[in-house]
């Protein structure tokens, strides 16, 4: 059991868990924006035909787990990670590691997460938290999205570790087993590798559904929604986009502010001033994502009803697509090494 576990609050749970676990091992340089950028977390994808909660399947970040594995690879962190078929065995392994004084990351489902307000409890299975101890029947929990630490009963933790559905956690847990030397050169390399990976995903990926072309594609679709779906359904669709973009965990503006903050820190590490002006472009993009959300809210609140109101969203998102395309092109041109 760990007496002095330092809880770290972050916007996003995956950034939070890796930041927290590394800082716990004494790597105090780690911040959430650095984790997000090294992990190449910025993304956009609009998957056609598939629906989430009856709305479009849009994501502003990469697949759950990608940030984590990318960072571990870049920083030479060797993880002990495993999944379980058997609940009892999963609990025993966790208990054993905690008793050895190890802080353990766990993937959990949100629906039965008792301390969450009921309005936020959907069957979303890729939330992450840290278990750092156990007192009687209660696990001590550091949930990165929260200001303070909390607890979960044995029964409640088992339930969320074995939640069912898409991305079912299957008791998934992980912790750093071995960490190599992390000096300034390793950090610089990790930053550059993260930037390059992100550039590839956003402007070089083929097809029209991902990256900046994906944003443009959604933009063009939205202007057809009023006639095609009717105001009610269009409103629900737009609400779904706003939730993916702004809801808890994004840091605001569909993770764009987080990425701008990363580039600001990267400029410092790499002594590269040009990154600052690119950071400003992502701030601009984030601000525009927020404006598009305000416009969308006008529609789902029933205040805006005309075709020109939908067209306005299309215009904003087209501008965002152009700004982000330009920004990543500039990152690409820097040829960071």
């Amino acid at each position: 059991m760990i007496k002095d576990f330092k809880h770290v609050q972050t916007a996003h749970c995956e950034n939070g868990v890796i930041t927290s676990l590394l800082r716990h091992q004494g790597f105090d340089f780690m911040t959430e924006p650095l984790a997000f950028g090294m992990g190449a977390g910025l993304f956009y994808i609009h998957i056609p035909y598939l629906k989430v909660n009856g709305g479009p399947m849009i994501s502003f970040r990469t697949m759950p787990g990608w940030i984590f594995s990318k960072i571990c690879k870049s920083l030479n962190v060797e993880l002990d990670r495993r999944k379980f078929k058997n609940q009892i065995r999963a609990q025993k392994y966790l208990d054993q590691k905690i008793s050895e004084g190890i802080a353990v990351g766990c993937q959990v489902g949100v629906y039965n997460l008792t301390y969450f307000p009921v309005e936020y409890r959907f069957h979303f299975n890729a939330h992450n938290l840290i278990v750092y101890g156990k007192e009687n029947d209660n696990y001590l929990i550091s949930d990165p999205i929260m200001e303070e630490v909390t607890t979960l009963s044995t029964n409640d933790l088992n339930k969320v570790r074995f939640a069912q559905g898409v991305l079912a956690p299957k008791g998934h847990l992980y912790f750093p087993k071995k960490i190599g030397r992390i000096d300034k050169t390793v950090i610089q390399k990790a930053i550059i590798s993260g930037i390059n990976r992100n550039t590839t995903m956003m402007i070089k990926a083929p097809g029209s559904i991902v990256g900046v072309t994906g944003i443009k594609r959604t933009a063009n679709k939205i202007s057809t929604w009023r006639d095609k779906l009717g105001p009610r359904k269009a409103g629900l669709y737009l609400g779904q986009i706003v939730r993916m973009q702004e809801e808890i965990g994004t840091g605001g503006g569909g993770f764009r502010f987080l990425y701008a903050a990363f580039l600001e820190q990267a400029a410092d590490y790499l002594q590269e001033d040009r990154l600052m002006s690119i950071s400003d472009q992502f701030t601009k993009a984030g601000d525009l994502w927020r404006s598009s959300a305000v416009q969308m809210a006008g529609i789902y609140k029933g205040r805006l009803t005309e075709q020109k109101d939908y067209d306005a969203i299309t215009d904003i998102m087209t501008e965002i697509s152009d700004i982000e395309k330009n920004a990543f092109k500039q990152l690409n041109k820097l040829k960071l090494k």
Partner: protein, 133 residues
């Protein structure tokens, strides 16, 4: 986004925690700051719940009219999809669809009913003697 523009509206999450957003401070540098919520996304979440509540009401109506079984009601009420319910019960989607009809529901054994009850976190009695208000 500038620090002074960070919205502080009251969201449902506020009873648990404030959330971190990244904002520019007065010196133009990024820093994390806490927000209690933003009306724009509060409205989006409220809208989603209005939609869910309408689906729940529609499920009740379908039971009253003898079109669906209580399994369907709890399926909607607990926000599940087939993959989730399949995972908890071990039944295939095809079987679950049958159990969602009144005739398929009547044929369910106590053992199967118990699995559903556990999945929905209710008693077998709440499932079998389901009353539509």
């Amino acid at each position: 986004m500038k620090k002074k523009d960070l919205p502080q509206d009251k969201s449902a999450l506020d009873v648990l925690t404030k959330e971190i957003c990244y904002v520019k401070n007065s010196e133009g540098k990024y820093e994390p700051d806490l927000s209690s919520g933003w009306s724009v996304k509060i409205a989006a979440l409220d809208n989603a719940w209005d939609d869910i509540n309408e689906q729940v009401a529609a499920a009740k109506k379908a039971i009253r009219q003898g079109e669906k079984s209580p399994i369907y009601y709890y399926f909607v009420k607990t926000l599940m999809d087939f993959q989730v319910l399949s995972g908890y019960t071990g039944f295939w989607k095809y079987s679950i669809k049958k159990h969602m009809t009144p005739s398929g529901f009547k044929k369910l054994s106590d053992k199967k009913l118990a699995k559903y009850a556990q999945a929905f976190d209710i008693t077998i009695d709440q499932l079998v003697n389901f009353k539509v208000e």
